[in-house]
Subunit: 353 residues, 2 copies
Amino acid sequence: MAQRRYVSIKEVAATAGVSFQTASKVLNGGDVRVSAETAARIVAAAERLGYQPNTIARSLVQRSTATLGLIASDATDMAITLTSVAAEQAARRHGHAVLVGHLAPGGGDGASIVRTLIERRVDGVIAAAPDLEENEEVGELLRAHGPTVSLQSIPGGGLPLVGSNHRETGRIATEHLIGLGHAAIGTVTGLFRRRVTRSRLHGYEDALRRAGIEPDAGLVAEADWTPAGAAAATRALLERRPQITALFVHSDMMAMGVLSALHDAGRRVPAGVAVVSCDDIPFAQFLSPPLSTVRVPLAETGARAVELLLRMIAGEPVPDKPLLLPVELIVRESCGGMETQRANRRDSDPNRG
Amino acid sequence: MAQRRYVSIKEVAATAGVSFQTASKVLNGGDVRVSAETAARIVAAAERLGYQPNTIARSLVQRSTATLGLIASDATDMAITLTSVAAEQAARRHGHAVLVGHLAPGGGDGASIVRTLIERRVDGVIAAAPDLEENEEVGELLRAHGPTVSLQSIPGGGLPLVGSNHRETGRIATEHLIGLGHAAIGTVTGLFRRRVTRSRLHGYEDALRRAGIEPDAGLVAEADWTPAGAAAATRALLERRPQITALFVHSDMMAMGVLSALHDAGRRVPAGVAVVSCDDIPFAQFLSPPLSTVRVPLAETGARAVELLLRMIAGEPVPDKPLLLPVELIVRESCGGMETQRANRRDSDPNRG
DNA sequence: ACCGTGTGGGCGAACGTTCGCTCACGAGTG
DNA sequence: CACTCGTGAGCGAACGTTCGCCCACACGGT
């Protein structure tokens, strides 16, 4: 409870009867030119006194903190949270700690967070917040600072990126719906001003055109990545184009709002409207109905971003192409694909009504 | 991109033509015995050179890092995530950064995380991970270290706690179900070895007894806080006690699994089984049906924990009683209470089947 | 001319490390 | 017997701050 008085290496050295620099060599340094006997004495003293090396002092002289900065958006989007948690764990596996800052809802405090991280001399920064895409000040700060890896594009460019192929994601999802016989396919998107949204939208249009269907702007409804926003967008869409039989949704979190709105409107899923989404967050399979979704390797994204960042910090050359991890369609029940598959094989499933 | 060379206060002082200690007084210290003119010159130089104070050096001499450590469990439980994100934001509002460590699924790396935090000389620690409840090593480490606030009990006790009254939570939820006319009320709990589980279970039993119903151990099904575990527990419970008409679930995340299992079993909610849960995470209202739940003030819990911790760090006396924030029942549709209310007033809701 | 009294700023020390050079000593070599 | 060499350990310096004390100087009152 009381402020602990830390024991310094000098005290350890004193009780072991050596100079503190010698103790330093034994306890933390690698260059051990010390007899085994003396070393043992020092280690024993450190053990007995409960010596904890002071990383602060070490950082000062080594000019490196073994700490990464992570800037993430607030926790409401589970996909981002999963990515950044995986990043933190990966960093720790590599001996680095993580200083984290979560953006306020608007994302306006981005620059202030970055400055805090810089003042604390983090060795590198991971930007895991889509809100940063529009923040030029953050872009400048990060580019000027040093090693940075982002998980979304940052204004001004020039920063290594780890992510997935969003256009392909949109295409895969839409193609699957087309393959199931749908033609009136709507989409509930993220914010238009985000790159990921535009890419996924392009993928959606690619798939439609490839199937000979001309995209209809009236089938596109913009939302704000939240369940509530997606529910509102879905309601508007249903009113505008009641004939839709399928929906491509840009994130699992939004899919919750979509399912809710469809339910309220009396449209059954997948019988009335088939739904395919993106991300595959852990509980996607526990929604009603279980969500068909294009899996994005969220945890791996975080881990790979950290590894890339660590290589940059070590001064290794890094590829200038974005690192895009493969996505994969996970078919569950919300798209109706499973029922179709099952129906092809046997009669029907007694558990479903 | 390239490692940035930071500009030190000495360079600023040199270009301003003063000693670096004087520059320090102007830029960071408070004791300004400097002429306005000189001060302006120093500030201008700092501005022009892009001076960023080195917090590491400052921490070394001041023996305080203005950094808090946060131990959280992995991101799969959104309730915990929301709490810890709120804690981080609160810390930042008070000028403190947050060093975070997420436990691996087993929670076995808790001690290693704590040691990392201590070596980095955090001023205090917030423990937001139920998994820590069984980790005695972590308890010792934290108690020996210094200011700590936990959001769940820690082995050995003696650490200030911020949370809510779990027993009351269980009681409120169960009483509401009883009030709706249910008598065969099952419960899907968290892990028995957690205090929160036992408390909520006590609250559940309190409510039953108060209504003259003798608790039946067969109506209690243990799960592991995950949707999958809760789904399995629900299936077992339905098999053991098919007559249940209501369920009290110990967390919203688990409620997703419960709803899914009930759906698969052909039991409609709330018509066949009424459900009340705990937490009120943001998307609870977007489940099908919208979840009735006892709201726990997650964000406020995180913020209050930080404030308490900061007071401890400042050396102020802190109450030795746990700080328990009030909970509140949020009635939505999964308990059937809303339908009942509505039915009492007008006929029925055309949107619902 | 002498002494206080502010005012503005310099300066040494310390925080706890790491790093690399120096040094004493004894053994092996020519 | 003088020389080289390796081994084991000491020691000064530096990292970038903050903190508190010291000092020079000008000014006004006796």
